[in-house]
Amino acid sequence: MERFELLDAVAVPLDESNVDTDQICPARLIRAFAQPGRHEHVFLHDRRFNEDGSPKPEFILDQPAYANAQIIVAQRNFGVGSSREAAVMAVRAAGFRAIVAESFGDIFVNNCFKNGVLPIRLVANEVDALRASLHRQTGAHVAIDLAQQTVTGPDGGSYAFAIGALRKRCLLAGLDDLSLTERYADAIESFERTYRAELPWLKL
């Protein structure tokens, strides 16, 4: 997994709530991720392209000022819905490494951490202030410092965010949790032995 430390990049304000996983990665496009390749068009596909495949250039994400954006600042309930990891892969393939919102779908958050994408939860007025400042200065940068757990907007406003210690550690080091788990192989082994003996009907 890619490491995440400091990110200072163009941020796009997305004035929307409930950006669900079916919008982020339409179900019929999930299988695209079964093959390696470039998938930068999948993210919010049906918002950005007409049925004949021609682009809808008016959509904010596709405006030239945001061509290199790596951060999204949305409203609430980002990534609600399906467990499809393709949703996060689509976000990542479109070049984004962090999403700031008031709230997220739980499974989406877990999937983000597996793919080196940082979901940041801030309270409503902070997210609103951040988006407002990005609207005032189109194409401006937002700086994210994972070690310090801060998000700093173009107007200098800085906001602290919370993150679980393990997740932070994994993301900072680019560590995947399988290698972590393998360190506890003995604990799993002995748990399993007792568990199986006590609840013998569970094995299929």
């Binding site: 409930n18 669900d20 309930n77 609600v80 819905g81 499809r84 779908g105 393990l166 748990f191 568990y195």
Partner: protein, 474 residues
């Protein structure tokens, strides 16, 4: 296992099950949780790919249950995967079967008589049992909480982790209790109940929480109705939804193929009876509803929280005080091509869908057939049983005849129009569908599709009238 200290404070059922599965807890708040069952479908392909890339094998292969459901065709099934014309879609089904066989998973493939939607099949086969920790590569894994299991959806990377280690890292969620006092009135269903709950607490209302549904209104529900309620917990943002097991649960499970039998059944039963939470247990949040006041509901927007009673009007965003919600409402109205203040029962519909892991069990089909019996549907539509076993049962009861006589198509089981990925069952842009499924997101049933979520009885009533209706309108 962390031993239960004597004189421990009162515990919720969730906490009891969590504790029972906790292999270890790190100081920074994450726990390593042991998993009893992992449910997968065609979409779990990337999990196998990364497993292969890392050269790992499955720790408990038989505990991984693979169901072909999302991409399966609902016609021409006698031709097996050869009946799938689109090679990319065929490959999704074939690679699930291939991977599952190769790794020794419990495979319920396209040709299996048990085939069906994973959340219908696992309970039906007795694979889902109380007290279990069940995770699945699908968000509606919440369904299995109806048995008093802790069950939730995970992404493909986590599925891979579970396949390799039989464990999962998790932060302990918060708890919420939703108490339903009073039984549902005649004409109101479990779907109407869960839609009312979501309308009340919102799509993000239970984010970060596990919901325990309780109270007389819940106890009175059948297992199938409980599954409908728990299924849509995820639409309220919940990590999981669960219902304490009781005699209704045990009666349902007795004699199912994968349920314990003989002496093991007795020990299991004893364990299951110890699961319900202590009366004094505290929840982080409490919500109370009056079951007798639940009425038939329909969604009007693009989020499951955007729903109203079928006798009511669509809201006016101008009256909404919360800015984000106002914008979301206005955008939903535009997408759905509806007007503020319009009575929802005036909305003309193009098509109906009776299916999905929310509402395609035998009781759901009976409920819809009871309404359609002796009536004609004025709309085209699909009836897609949740599993092949449900299909056989429905046919034995003559329900297939009722649906076909009404003018609806009777199909083979699968996810079908719920998510529109099998290459054949999807809506045209702008088409409006009354659906028993669980999500009305933009494009969910096909690009540009418009979905109205309702109960099976209401979808059946809508089919006969051509506009959004409940049985009370017939």
């Amino acid at each position: 296992m962390i031993p239960e200290p004597s004189g421990a404070p009162a515990q919720t059922m969730f906490a009891r099950i969590w504790r029972r599965h906790s292999v270890l807890a790190l100081e920074d708040g994450e726990s390593l949780i042991y998993v009893d069952r992992c449910l997968i479908h065609e979409g779990s392909r990337p999990a196998f790919q990364s497993l292969d890339r890392l050269g790992k094998t499955l720790r408990c292969p038989a505990q991984v249950i693979a169901c072909a459901d999302h991409y399966v065709p609902t016609t021409n099934r006698e031709r097996g995967t050869g009946g799938i014309d689109d090679p990319a879609i065929r490959q999704m089904v074939e690679s699930l079967e291939h991977n599952a066989r190769r790794h020794g998973c419990t495979l319920i493939g396209l040709d299996d008589p048990r085939q069906g939607i994973l959340h219908v099949v696992a309970p039906e086969q007795g694979i889902t049992q109380p007290g279990m920790m069940i995770c699945g590569g699908d968000s509606h894994t919440a369904t299995h909480g109806a048995f008093g299991a802790l069950a939730f959806g995970i992404g493909a990377s986590e599925v891979m982790h579970v396949m390799a280690t039989q464990t999962l890292w998790q932060e302990m969620p918060r708890t919420m209790r939703i108490t339903v006092n009073g039984h549902l009135a005649v004409g109101a269903s479990a779907k109407d109940l869960i839609l009312s709950i979501i309308a009340r607490i919102g799509t993000g209302g239970a984010t970060g929480h596990v919901i325990e549904y309780a109270g007389p209104g819940i106890r009175a529900l059948s297992m199938e109705q409980r599954m409908t309620v728990c299924n849509m917990s995820i639409e309220a943002g919940a990590r999981a939804g669960m219902i304490a097991p009781d005699d209704t649960t045990f009666e349902y499970l007795a004699g199912r193929p994968a349920a314990p039998a003989g002496a093991l059944w007795q020990s299991a039963l004893e364990y299951w009876r110890s699961l319900p939470g202590d009366i004094e247990a505290q929840f982080d949040r409490e919500v109370r509803l009056e079951g007798t006041q639940i009425v038939p509901m329909a969604s009007w927007g693009t989020s499951p929280e955007q729903c109203v009673a079928i006798g009511d009007r669509i809201p006016d965003p101008l009256r909404e005080t919360d800015g984000a919600r106002r914008e979301a409402q206005a955008r939903a109205l535009e997408y759905m091509a509806l007007q503020p203040n319009q009575p929802i029962a005036e909305i003309a519909v193009d098509r109906v869908f009776i299916g999905s892991c929310t509402n395609a069990r035998i009781e759901d089909l009976r409920e819809a057939a009871a309404v359609l019996k002796g009536r004609r549907s004025v709309l085209p539509g699909l009836v897609v049983p949740g599993s092949s076993a449900v299909k056989r049962q429905a046919e034995a009861e003559g329900l297939d005849y009722v649906f076909q006589a009404a003018g609806l198509e009777w199909r083979e089981s699968g996810c079908s129009l719920c998510t529109g990925v099998n290459g054949a069952d999807f809506l045209q842009p702008g088409e409006r569908c009354a659906s028993t499924s669980n999500r009305n997101f933009p494009g969910r049933q096909g690009p540009g599709s418009r979905t109205h979520l309702m109960s099976p009885a209401s979808v059946a009533a809508t089919a006969t009238l051509g506009r959004i209706a409940s049985v009370r309108d017939l």
